[in-house]
């Protein structure tokens, strides 16, 4: 067996400047995190590299996470920057097995940004927070000169209480025999935003999947408890990237079945036309759950019974080898490696 090329951690990654690839959520982002941030901030809570940190506070496990939201266009089918900013942080907490207690919101607004649009973004945040049952309890506003920002950026942070049945949740806890379940159709958000930019001349009825997943996670934990080994919120870099994180952290392999991947025919069609793989396209309301193989049926049943998981599907399993790799058995009958994303997914020229 050939050994896997691990993400590069050598100093040569520090040469040059930050490029857009460093923000894609794929290999370059991981290299940046490992070489710049992990090194400088080194501490045990951060080192786990989960979607949020889990801290012991007065005998309880407190999850803490932060996320910044940059999207163009700010309004798109299925949602807007405001929905993303609340749901994204709620979902990072949910991936830690936590129910949200409170959120913060920080705004960086470009001079000239219409107040009506800002109000729409904030109303969407308020509405999303109400749906989840969490409050935005603190915030900050900065305005930058015209041309120094792209309309409006939002940062949200959140704290939440970790469910006592979820204290062992970690990508590293995935083990051979586990099954991988995704909570619905993949690639909806990224495709919806790509089309909403209007640069491709393709029209399709595709809406973002932005949604809070804390209720789904609670239902899953109620049903199978600690047999959920890992949860990952599949955002930038898509399902492929989070499964690579699981494979790397656990030292196991993830083997997917292409035929089992839930992809809407519209998303599949757009991706085929552009030469993009839906596995790498961003989701904003999809959880990947790695569960003990013994309880797969129960986990799938309860996820499908929840409104945020109706199209849940078992997409693969964890195996012992090849260490640290994600493979896919293709619908055509072959198999292939599913690597972590390199750069942004870009359409092919022909």
């Amino acid at each position: 067996m050939t050994s896997r090329t691990r993400p590069v951690r050598r100093a040569r990654e520090l040469s040059g400047a930050v490029t857009l690839s460093h923000g894609s959520g794929g290999k370059a982002t991981h290299a940046l995190v490992e070489t710049v941030f992990l090194e400088a901030f080194h501490n045990p809570a951060l080192a786990a590299l989960n979607d949020g940190a889990v801290l012991k506070v007065a005998g309880k496990d407190l999850a803490f996470t932060t996320d910044s939201f940059v999207v163009s266009p700010i309004f798109f089918p299925g949602g807007c920057l405001g929905d993303l900013a609340v749901n994204g942080t709620v979902n990072d907490l949910a991936a830690c097995g936590a129910q949200p207690l409170a959120l913060s919101a920080g705004f960086v607004i470009e001079e000239g940004f219409p107040l009506t649009e800002l109000a729409r973004v904030v109303q969407a945040m308020a509405s999303a927070a109400r749906y989840v049952g969490v409050s935005v309890v603190t915030g900050d506003t900065k305005v930058v000169e015209h041309g120094k920002g792209d309309g409006c950026y939002v940062n949200t942070s959140g704290i939440g209480l970790v469910d006592r049945r979820a204290t062992g949740l970690s990508a590293a806890a995935a083990c051979p025999g586990d099954q991988d379940i995704v909570s619905g159709y993949i690639g909806d958000h990224g495709t919806a935003v790509l089309l909403a930019r209007g640069e491709l001349g393709i029209s399709a009825e595709i809406a973002s999947d932005t949604a809070p997943l804390n209720g789904l996670v609670a239902a899953l934990l109620d049903c199978v408890g600690p047999k959920v080994h890992a949860l990952r919120d599949a955002t930038r870099g898509g399902v492929a990237t989070v499964l690579n994180e699981v494979a790397l952290a656990s030292g196991a392999a993830v083997v997917l079945a292409e035929d089992a991947l839930p992809v809407r025919s519209e998303v599949f069609g757009v991706c085929e036309m552009l030469g993009i793989d839906p596995l790498y396209v961003a989701c904003e309301g999809r959880m990947v759950a790695v569960v003990d193989g013994d309880c797969t049926d129960d986990a799938l049943r309860v996820m499908r019974a929840h409104p945020m998981g109706r199209n849940s599907a078992v997409i693969g399993e964890v195996r012992r080898e090849p260490v640290g790799l994600v493979l896919e058995n293709t619908g055509f009958g072959g198999s292939r490696v599913v690597d972590m994303l390199v750069g942004d997914p870009l359409p092919r020229i022909c």
Binding site: V8, G275, F332, V337, R348
Partner: protein, 380 residues
């Protein structure tokens, strides 16, 4: 959907695989070159080699438009991008291609205005929307994409869009195939011919490959069953001692091609006496430049361009990969110094590049991980 799923039918693949195996002569090793990067992508993405007997080896050809761009041309484009008021527009595949002094992405990070577009018309629209910018479209690709560049230039000329120009790197498909065959250092038994190029040029230009070199060529589609059927058709020709041009991709390609597209290309572009190909060296009359009457839209006429030839890095064996001499993993830097996130050679950049396709999809799982290097039997 049926236009996709219908061409990925596992049961039909099994039938074709049996038929291909049945055509193999005992003791003979077959080397078929898939010319197009799109075919390479399909082969690895769907695990197509799983269906091929060990005696049939697919080697990758020079048909990935990004892979054949030499480093010097990337540097030239970056030098244009650094000039005042310039916006460089390019296809997404190009942004990570390494030149001698970094990629477009590096240039963008250093302050150059580099934008990804999806068609040359998008670049023209940029020029119309931003009249103070000098928009330069980096045109790459074979005859597949050249007509759209040609039409865009004609539109710019007709509409007097003076701030739009093209840095033309279009190449043509037949010269590199002949160069590979003339070099005679790879025993290729037959070709899986390019599909999308052939929608423009048709099938006729390949006739010398069959008639003069005695090699079967089957123009192929890009779905896995297309490629597998094309392998079968080449193998059938070999078994029947034929060398002809056949068209598997009849649903898209017709024999005469798109004569309108060819005419617009000829109206706007002329062959360059020489063009440097990444890894293949200089090939005469293998690339296109804008004709003199379009000089006002020709970036090579409008800008100071260093035009310095940059030697490929010594460690990089892209040239041998593009000629089918070695397979990606046999390159000495593959997967070590050269990876998709830090590519040394162009074949590791585009998802159609043989090295990137193999690195991204094929590592560990290709059935013939170390194919026999046996030479083919005597030509039939």
């Amino acid at each position: 959907m049926r236009f996709v799923t219908g061409y990925r039918d596992r049961s039909k693949a099994t039938v074709l695989a049996g038929a291909i195996a049945g055509l193999c002569e005992p003791g003979r090793h077959y080397k078929l070159m898939e010319v197009c990067g799109g075919h390479t992508h399909t082969i690895y993405k769907h695990g197509l080699e799983h269906y091929l007997p060990e005696a049939v080896e697919l080697v990758h050809g020079p048909g990935c438009p990004v892979c054949v761009i030499p480093m010097g041309r990337v540097d030239d484009a970056i030098s244009i991008a650094r000039q005042p008021d310039v916006t460089l527009a390019c296809f997404g595949d190009m942004v990570r291609v390494p030149g001698g002094k970094g990629s477009f992405l590096d240039a963008k990070a250093a302050g150059a205005d580099v934008r990804v577009v999806y068609s040359p018309m998008d670049a023209l629209k940029l020029a119309i929307d931003e009249p103070d910018r000098r928009v330069v479209f980096v045109a790459i690709g074979f005859e597949t994409t050249a007509p759209s560049t040609a039409l865009t230039v004609l539109r710019a000329q007709a509409d007097h869009i003076r701030n739009f120009s093209v840095f033309c790197n279009h190449v043509t498909i037949i010269p590199p195939l002949k160069a590979i065959l003339d070099a005679n250092d790879v025993d290729i038994d037959g070709f899986i011919g390019p599909g999308h190029v052939s929608t423009v040029v048709g099938c006729r230009p390949y006739l010398p490959i069959a008639a003069d070199y005695g090699k079967p060529l089957v123009v192929s589609g890009f779905e896995p069953l297309d490629v597998l059927q094309s392998v079968y058709m080449v193998m059938r020709q070999l078994a029947e001692r034929r060398a002809e041009v056949e068209n598997q991709y009849g649903r898209v390609v017709n024999w005469e091609g798109n004569t309108t597209a060819v005419a617009v290309m000829e109206q706007t572009m002329e062959p360059r006496p020489h063009f440097e190909w990444r890894g293949l060296g200089s090939i005469p009359f293998s690339a296109l430049k804008l004709r003199p009457h379009l000089a006002e839209h020709d970036a090579e006429e409008l800008f100071d361009i260093p035009g310095v030839r940059v030697a490929d890095p010594r460690a990089c064996q892209c040239g041998q990969v593009l000629r089918g001499q070695i397979r990606p993993w046999e390159c000495r830097v593959f997967g070590k110094a050269c990876t998709p996130e830090k590519p040394i050679g162009t074949c590791m950049v585009s998802s159609e590049g043989a090295c990137a396709a193999y690195y991204n999809f094929g590592r560990l799982v290709t059935p013939h991980a170390r194919p026999p290097r046996a030479r083919s039997a005597a030509p039939s």
